[in-house]
Symmetry: C2
DNA sequence: CGCTACTATCTCCTTTTGAGATAGCGCATA
DNA sequence: TATGCGCTATCTCAAAAGGAGATAGTAGCG
């Protein structure tokens, strides 16, 4: 059974004539006859009464319903990929907690305004988990800290973050090694790239990773820092956005470990759905507006 | 886009290999490559990652959903017509009130036992309306009184009925012309073939059609007859079945107008769905059991 | 570094498809 | 009943597509 035959079949059912159906689908009547005949042979049943005006038989009417389902699904699938202006379907984004909180909202808002027919699904997690999701095809793109070593992936430097040390008390100089050793650190769960920076920071002070408390949410983490439980390391922008809610203070980290980039990673552009391609466009525009010096890689 | 390509696509998505997909669908790997490539060209998007193991891209995963819908609809359509033992789908039957009440229940029960997957839709109405429904394709078959004059329809004599005169009082002889003229008759609404018999009966007594009350339901009609509103004409079997509920009495009509056959009419067997073919079988068996002397025409 | 297993490409041959021409049929009109 | 009109079925030929095999290229693995 061919979709082409079903299109002709539907045209015949709707127009009540082989000639009219042929005209509608820009072909000749003999082809319509052949296709219908083939359908009838394949199904072992006559689909149209040929006496005088052409009318669908009971069997023909029954087939109409299924033909509609098949053709509708086909048309939707095609418009998914070939939709000229408006993308549709689904876009699954993976992003880190901090990116989700600080950077994504304006971009998602702009994207949704541009593509209202796309269902956005956002999954949050640490970099390592996000990479896993992307490799498994469970998300269409991710925002992660640090460049992905996998080849054959499209990478775009999206955001540049300055990491700062966060504490409940005002700081003017970096805490001493003894203080750091004695203190606890708040971090996201295993796999978070910021957590690696904490361990890097401690190592640069000759201190092994001490007590590290793991959190799943930014709010909980900042709450604990504000309560004096210990330090954490976060992007300055994220802390600034929450400073009015918590009594927290920041200190710049050494330049060597302070800077961290957030990358947008997705499979090769040839595999992108229009929804994803449009999202990449939106992102590029936002990035260029924010920081004109950054370019795609 | 071809259904064949989608089958191959699904096989590749499920097996994760072009070779395995080719084996599953009994073809060679080069054909799988060609079909997938064609799909990709048509949709303008890459559907599989080819690095090492073959995995669907985001676009591929999106297509999976639509491919499933198309193929499911196709398989269901095919099984509608090619289902070997069990028919499925829908069977729309049109029948007269009296046939529905008296004759159909055992046949529908037998049919439903044989074909539990068929949805039965029963429409009730007078012969003329039923014929209209059949000609318009709104039902698959009808039970009507009197042979359908249309050619190219399959006709089977289903039931033989003896019409009797029904009244609230016991009768031993036919009422006189004067009585008939003065009486009312109960009949189904316009188009009922029994009603024609009433008019025929009156005419044979030299009486024009007098007052005829129209009813939509058998129960209401018999109730009014029992209440002494007037006569009616019905198949003996129908009256017998209701006699214990109403105080009604019958009298045989003149042989010339007493006999009336109920015919099963449907389009040509070549146009039958398996559901309809199976119903015709059930009906034939029931007819043969009841009255071996009757044969198909 | 070579082996293995897989996919892409090419070629040949068969089958299918599409367009045109023509025959046949039903219906309406005279 | 004869005739004309409009429609569908069938036939034919050329073009296109499809299937199978052979082969080249490539990634992954030991």
């Amino acid at each position: 059974m061919q979709l082409k035959s079903l299109r002709l079949f539907m045209a015949v059912a709707e127009t009540g004539s082989f000639v009219a159906a042929a005209k509608r689908l820009h072909t000749v009547q003999s082809n319509v006859t052949t296709h219908i005949k083939k359908l009838e042979e394949e199904l072992g049943v006559q689909l149209f009464h040929r006496a005088g005006r052409v009318r669908p038989t009971s069997a023909g009417l029954a087939l109409v319903e299924y033909a509609e389902r098949m053709l509708t699904a086909h048309d939707e699938a095609v418009s998914l990929f070939k939709g000229q202006e408006k993308a549709c379907g689904r876009l699954r984004i993976g992003a880190m907690e901090t990116t989700t909180a600080l950077r994504l909202p304006p971009i998602l808002a702009a994207y949704h305004a541009a593509q209202p027919d796309v269902d956005i699904q956002l999954k949050t997690g640490p970099t390592a988990e996000l990479v896993e999701l992307l490799l498994n095809g469970q998300v269409d793109c991710v925002f992660v800290a640090g460049r992905l070593e996998h080849s054959r992936y499209h990478v775009l430097k999206a955001f540049s973050e300055e990491l700062v040390l966060v504490d409940s008390m005002p700081m003017t100089t970096m805490p001493s090694s003894q203080e750091l050793l004695a203190s606890a650190f708040m971090a996201f769960r295993q796999g978070c790239s910021y957590r690696q920076r904490i361990e890097l920071l401690l190592a640069s002070y000759g201190v092994n990773a001490g007590r590290i408390f793991e959190f799943g949410s930014l709010d909980a983490m900042l709450g604990c820092v504000a309560a004096g439980m210990g330090y954490t390391v976060l992007p300055r922008g994220t802390v600034d956005a929450h400073q009015h809610r918590f009594g927290i203070h920041t200190l710049a980290l050494p330049a060597s470990i302070a800077h961290i980039d957030t990358y947008f990673v997705a499979a090769e552009p040839e595999t992108w759905t229009p929804a994803l391609a449009s999202f990449a466009d939106t992102l590029r525009n936002a990035v260029i507006l924010d920081e004109p010096q950054l370019t795609a890689s």
